[in-house]
Every structure is written in C-alpha cells, then in structure tokens.
Amino acid sequence: MLHVEQTADRCIKCNVCNTVCPVSAVTDLFPGPKYEGPQGQRFRAGIDTGDSPDHSLDYCSGCGLCTQACPEGVMVAEINQVARERLVTARGGLGLRDKLISRPSLMGRLARPVAPLANLLMAARPVRLAVEKAIGVHRAAAMPRFSGTTFRSWARHHRAPSDATRTVAYFHGCAVQEFEPEMGAAVVRVLERNRVRVTFPRQACCGLPLVSNGDFEAGRAAAVRLVGRLRAAADDPGVIVANSTSCGMTLKAKYRELLGMDDAATRAVSRAVYDICEYLLELADEDALDRSFAPLPAKALYHPPCQLMAHGVGTPALDLLAMVPGLEVERSRAGCCGTAGTYGTKVEKYQIAMDVGAGLFEQVTEARPDFVVCDSETCRWHIAKATGLPVYHPVQVLDRAYQV
C-alpha cells in the first residue's frame, strides 16, 4: 500500500492520465486522475489523516486507464483507491448499500432458494424503484440473474475426460458460481477440448468489490481466506485460470498493491494466476491448442475490459477469436464500458457510467454486430442492458465454435 503511494513521486505532471480518464470526460464532478492521484497524495501524507477532504475522489471509478497510460509508472488509480479507503474509514465504514453490493456471493446465496422469484422481482420496475429509494442501487442498473443452481454443484457431477496432458485449477469466482454457471461450464469444456484437466479447489470471493469500495479490512480477510484455499493449487497444478478479468487482476496484483500482502503464499498464488484467454493463447503459442473451430459466420464486437488491460498481456481474446473461421471481429474503441464493477450500479454514479459507455454503445449501434464479446461479467451485464444484444465471454464463443 505504501509503495503504491510512493509512486506519486514519479509524476511529471504531463497530463497524459487526464486524456484517458473516462469519468472526467463526462462529468465535472471529477477533476481527473492527476488531481486526485499524485497531486492530491502530497497533501494526504500528513499526521492528520483522520479527516480526508477528498469528496471528489469518490467519483473515481477505479477503471485504471490512467495507470496504464502513465509513462512514468505512477499508479494513479491505485493511489486513488488507497485514498478512498481512508475516506471510507474516516466516515465510519461502508454504508448499507456498499456493504451489500460488495458481497455478491452473499447476495447470491440468499437469493438462490428463490431464484426465479428474485429474478422476477428484480425485473419489476416498482421493486427496483423501492430498492433505489431504500439503499441507492439505481433502478435501471444492470443486474445479473440469480441462478437456482451453483456452478460447483455442476462441477461436482462433472466427469472429466481421461485424455488430459495438463492440469489447471479453475478460479471461477462469484459470478460463475452464483449467476452464470453455464459460463463456467463453457470454460471447462474448452479446456477439456484442449486436453486440460480442470480441478475445482475450494474457494471464495476474491474480495475485489470490498476493496474497490474502500473496505480494506474485510477485503483483506477475504484475500487471506482465498489465498489459503488456493495455496496448494499454486504449487500443484501450478496454474490457476480465471475467467473474470477483474478477479484475475485482483489475485495477480491487487492483494500486493493495495493490501500490502507480500508474503510467500500470496506471491505464489499471484504468480500462478492466468486469465483464461491468456492461458489458451499460450497453448496456441506452444502449438497445443485445438484449432478445429467450426465456422461461425457472424459479426462480433469485442470490448477488452479496462481491467483486462491491467494484466499486461494485451488482448489475447482477439488472437483467439481470429482463429474462428467466418467470425468478423471489430474491436471496441472505448477504454471503459462505464460500469467499473459496482460503480455503475450506484444511484449517484449510474448516469456517469452510462455517459462513459455511450461511445461504446454508439459504436455497437453503428457496427451492428450479432453479439458483443467481453471478458468481464459486470461489463457484460452492463453492455447487454444498454444495447439489448447478447454479450458473451470469449470462451463462450470458442465453446460454441468447438461444439458444432
């Protein structure tokens, strides 16, 4: 955590970060990453940190485009996140809404027994209005559909084929477990098609929503728990794949950067994590990827989530999708779709999120794809709601192309 703050030292005030911030582009409530990050940091480092004055900081969505664009290595978004934690602590912790939306697996578990009803209610306008008034989740914010069954119950009954030449552990995350088990099944099928055996270590929420909302204490507890559960898999099989680019990024880097977790176990787990597309592309580099995709004559628009770019591996999904015959893929020009995890669901931030995403939505309208492809689940739900188009994870497209 302190290392991140010290990167503020590197700022040469060049304004590059300000040119890529999607939030300051659409609202003047947010003065931009340079002001909030390295500039403001110099005024926060004192002994009187109790009362942080940074109300404007709250509008930072944490998309991280600033950190990526900075040529000097200032970790602007991370500085903001650390400052947000101080702000939240000074205010006495998260409010009810942020406590709830930071715990997706809790919400999933609660709704699971009554999933169809819960989904009906969450689609009903009066219910959404009431929810908005009660806790501040915007009435129109995209919500995932609760699933009546969990991914792990599918995995328990899944029989792995016996021709595997490698093994990976699968970190499926809350979204696959509670909301999209079919997505997880696609991941497993694609891996098994490539003779990779998939294990399902006991796991839990990575804690990213807690951390990004500013509750580092609860986030750290989640992190320590998860690292403990994945520790063995980090050694054997030594590869942990994650389909959520946000969770993957959290495991790879945020425990160290934001929570200051620098112990051997955390390091081992972090080093073992691969984004699923990153992993599949490495298989392809080794000529170990099954390229017998059936043609999928369709047009897709691919949006790389901002938190995928934070992995530093570029956009492996584009290379993979290019292997599917007949699939025309246009790349999104947007850096961020706007939702930035839970940010866009909040009543005071929803319009900002929609304005940030407007460019992407316009590009979708102009491009008229059959579907959109995106690696991050909250982005998928947000884009689907805004465009009305189906939005798939890249692996779901590959899965389809394998199945025919």
Binding site: L2, Q6, A8, D9, R10, C11, I12, K13, C14, D28, P31, G32, K34, Y35, Q39, G40, Q41, R42, F43, R44, A45, G46, I47, D48, T49, D51, S52, P53, D54, H55, S56, E72
Partner: protein, 536 residues
C-alpha cells in the same frame, strides 16, 4: 545625500531576529525602521529546515540551549499557531548507535524540561510507517514544524500595523558616526539606485551571519563564523513528524517534513562567507544516504532541490579556537549573545544580537530590546510572548488544508499551480495587492514550488500578469525559469531528469524560448547569486 527619514531605532536585518526586534519595539511604543538588503527571510531564516525545536537535539551537550528551545516552542505555539505544524518528533535508535547516548539523551531532556516518551520499535513504526525495519526504539518529543516566511509575514504585519516601517531592498552600506555615537545609517535604495540616510538614535544589528559586516561599517569587531549547512528537499513528505537520529549530532541526522515536502539535513562546515551557498553533488548524496538509514525509501526517492544556509555563529574575542576553517562547527555553542557595543567597544548607541536559532528568535529579541529599552529609558515591558500574532485564529497549519479548501469550493477548475493548489483567485488577489513578478508570486503563494518546478504554472501565471499590465512578461517568464534552475544541477537524476527534459521540451521545444538577449539582472546589479530557494 538625500535624507530619507528620521527614526528612533534602525534595525538592520530582515530575518526572524530583526523582525522580532521590530515587533517587540513596536509593542513597546518605540519608533523603528527595519532595513533589509534583499527581501524578508532571504538570509538564514529562509535557508533552513523548518524545525520547531523541542530542544532535545541539545539535551546532552548544551542544556542552556535546550531549555531556551522548549520554552520558546511553547510560546510560538501560543502566539503563532498558524505558522506551526503540530506534528511531533521522534529520536530513533538504530543498530550501531550508542545505547549509552540514549540514556544521556533522556536525562538531558528531563534536566532541560523537555517531555519525552519512549516508544517500542513497533509503536514507532505505527507512527512512522516508513521507518527502517531495524529501528530498535524511539523517543517522542514535542518537535514541530514552523514556516519561517509565515512567521516573518505575521510579525512584520503586526509591527507595521503599529507604525513601524519595513524597507526591503535597502542594504546598509555604511554609518555616519559622530564620536562615539552613530547619527545615521546609510542605505542603498536599489529601486531608485541611490544612497539614502536614515537618521536615528539607536542601531540594532540583527543581520545574523552578516553581523560582522555591519560591525566593520560601524568600526567595531564582531567575529562571526559562517557555519554552512546543506539541506536537501525531497519531492514528497515521507514522514508525518520530525525524525532525528538518536546520537551525537552529525551530518544527515534529521528529516523535517514541511508542508508537502521533507527536508533532509544537514551538514556543518565553516566557510569563508555567509554568501557561500553552493551545494555539491557529494553533499546531496551524503544527506540522502545518511537520512536513508532512518527512512530507507529516501534512497530511491525524488529530490526537488538542495540549498545551503549559513548559521550565524558568534566567536567571542576572548575564546581561542571554536572551529578552524573547514572544520565542523557543531562544537560552537548555539545559544545567543547580546553585544552592547557601549561597554564592549565604546560605541554608545549600537547593540548586536548574534548566534541563536530560529526557534528562539522572540526570546532573543526580548533580551536585546530589554537591554535597549533600559538604555533608552523606555519602561514598557515586553509583551511579545503573550500577544498573539495576526492570523493566529486560523489555528495550526494542517497539511490537507489547501486540498480541503479546493474541495470545499469546488475550485478544481481554478488551479493555476496544480502542485501547490494555487488558484486563479489567489493569483488575482496577489496581483491586485501589487505583486508584479513571478518571483513574488512564488514567495507569497508557493507557486512553482512543487515537483514539476513550474512547468505549467509559470506560463499560466505569466499570462495572468500580462492580462493586468503591459511589460515584458515573456522576459519575466524566462528569468523566472532561469531562477528556478539555479542550483538544481546537483539534484537532477531519474524522475527529476525526466521532468527537467519535459520542461525543456515545453519551453524551448514548443515555445521556442531561448532566453537570448535577456540580461541576468542579479548579475548586472552586482548582487550575489543568492536568491533564496527556500525551505519548502
């Protein structure tokens, strides 16, 4: 010669001591004029580390100084809280330090009346997260930070409100003596370019490290030793309070946070002249390496600039030794001395105040003015310890205050100097107050102090100046940039090198400024290249 004016007392020297004397005289109803060669705080008062001493640094070897410090520490917090950062200090014991010294330290503090509290290594690191992992233990003391310019401005404002006059850019060039009395002080009006006389009854020599020069003009010997100290300004604050090494005072044993920066100090070398303020790269490296023993991340940190100041060390005639040339001047006592030249030298109406440290400036002034008042027959007692200074109602300076102000006013779009959060409104107000130069804006508003070294604010501010008045603002901008550049070459590498080259790419590359044909005014005026780079 054109007489300028007549007064009772001429105070020479616009550092904290001189201005404190002026204020003390004003509070006792005495007419006085202060004359200063450059601007207030351009001598030692503007070239130091900003430590509000608890006195603990002297507790072992110089308990008289220590006691003076802790007393004045309390007084300054009362009368000038707005100039003080209430941040506390630590003395840390590192492996290799003499544990016996720690024992003497505690005893000395007790004997001097300085409250201390022992902290375990864990407690110390909770308080200062960047402390070296091998710190063994620490002592907390009531050190603080003090902004000398804010103090100067407050004291001067108080004195002027009570009828005193402050004449800056009026160096003393001589005195008129009639037998055993000075009848007038001759000053050079730099703006008008001619000498003036100020008729007076009494003269106070408060020129600190330059006291010997005034003495020479008056015909009395005052032997001053210029004890040069180098300080390094880091681009960010690193520590919450002051961090000292718990050992016999040596080079690189103190880190003083001041506003958004940290000042590493210091060295102590006798030099020929108090105007010798050159800093060598080796000095900078030494400060960083030594202070990094206490806070390791300093070693990879970004340096903003380095500067040097001269301690005003008095060598009494009767003593032999003190420090030899080039030697360590730490052995010379830091307490102060009032010299009454009547009894000492047969000059009836001049007093000098030498030695001391900034923390005790008010006390020094009190001692001197008590003596002077007695000689003048003034019976008003000293009230400077109880009368609060203008601005005191703002309370202690808080680091986050500028940011809080911008947030409260939603003034993000008004920032001219982004590093220091200086707004358009502040610049406009300063211009309305009569400030016409970028240098003035820098000193008053901290414009250009930050890590980017005026890359953006300089030309924005030049633009605002040009909205108000004609004149060569482009030339003023070039001069300002050159001024900021002085003395930076010892401290530029890494991040700061990238900053310097970006700034060069902006001003020379985009704006094609080459500074050709613009005279270096300071050199032209024969002034030493001694414009202060400041303590923050």
């Amino acid at each position: 010669m054109t007489p300028l004016l007549e007064t009772d007392v001429v105070v020479a020297g616009g550092g904290v001591t001189g201005v404190a004397v002026l204020r003390d005289l004003a509070l006792r109803g005495v007419n006085a004029v202060l004359v200063e060669r450059f601007d207030l705080g351009t001598g030692t008062s503007g070239r130091w580390h900003g430590l509000l001493h608890s006195g603990a640094r002297y507790a072992v070897r110089d308990q008289e100084s220590a006691r003076e410090c802790i007393e004045e520490n309390t007084v300054l917090r009362r009368i000038a809280p707005h100039t003080v950062e209430d941040i506390g200090g630590l003395f840390v014991l590192l492996p290799g330090d003499d544990e016996a010294y720690a024992g003497k330290f505690v005893e000395g503090c007790q004997a001097s009346g300085i409250p201390t509290e022992e902290l375990s290594a864990a407690e110390a690191r909770r308080r200062e997260p960047l402390l070296a992992p091998d710190v063994k233990l620490a002592f907390a003391v009531p050190d603080g930070g003090i902004d000398s310019w804010a103090l100067l401005r407050s004291m001067a404002a108080d004195a002027e409100a009570r009828g005193s006059r402050v004449l800056v850019r009026h160096p003393v060039v001589g005195v008129e003596r009639d037998g055993d009395r000075i009848t007038a002080v001759r000053v050079h009006d730099q703006v008008a370019g001619e000498d003036r006389l100020i008729g007076c009854q009494w003269v106070v020599n408060a020129t600190g490290a330059w006291a010997g020069e005034i003495g020479r003009m008056a015909g009395v010997p005052i032997r001053m030793i210029a004890g040069k100290g180098v300080m390094v300004v880091m681009a960010s604050r690193y520590v919450r309070g002051v961090v000292n090494a718990c050992r016999k005072p040596a080079d690189g044993d103190i880190i003083v946070p001041q506003h958004e920066v940290a000042i590493l100090g210091t060295t102590s070398v006798q030099v020929d002249s108090p105007d010798d303020i050159a800093v060598a790269p080796a000095d900078v490296d030494r400060m960083i390496d030594m202070c990094a023993q206490m806070v390791p991340s300093l070693a990879s940190g970004r340096v903003l600039r380095a500067f040097a100041g001269s301690r005003p060390l008095y060598q009494p005639e009767s003593e032999d030794g003190g420090a030899s040339d080039g030697g360590d001047t730490r052995e010379v006592s830091r307490t102060f001395t009032v010299l009454d030249h009547a009894s000492r030298d047969g000059l009836g109406n001049m007093l000098s105040i030498v030695g001391g440290k900034l923390t005790t400036c008010r006390q020094m002034a009190e001692a001197l003015v008590d003596r002077l008042a007695e000689r003048m027959g003034v019976t008003e007692p000293c009230r400077t310890a109880t009368e609060v200074l203008p601005g005191a109602d703002h309370g202690p300076h808080r680091l986050a205050a500028p940011l809080a102000g911008v947030e409260r006013d939603g003034a993000y779009g008004e920032l001219i100097c982004e590093c220091e959060l200086v707004t358009r409104g502040q610049v406009r107000a300063a211009i309305a107050d009569g400030l016409t130069e970028l240098e003035d804006l820098r000193r008053k508003l901290r414009l250009g102090y930050g890590p980017c070294q005026a890359a953006f604010c300089a030309w924005r501010a030049a633009g605002m100046l040009s909205e108000g008045s004609g004149g060569d603002h482009l030339g003023g901008l070039e001069r300002f940039l050159e001024e900021r550049w002085r003395g930076q070459r010892a401290t530029i590498w890494g991040d700061q090198a990238r900053q310097a080259l970006l700034n060069h790419a902006i001003y020379r590359g985009i704006f094609d400024l080459r500074g050709a044909g613009r005279p270096d005014e300071a050199a032209a005026a024969g002034l030493p290249r001694a414009e202060p780079v400041g303590g923050g």
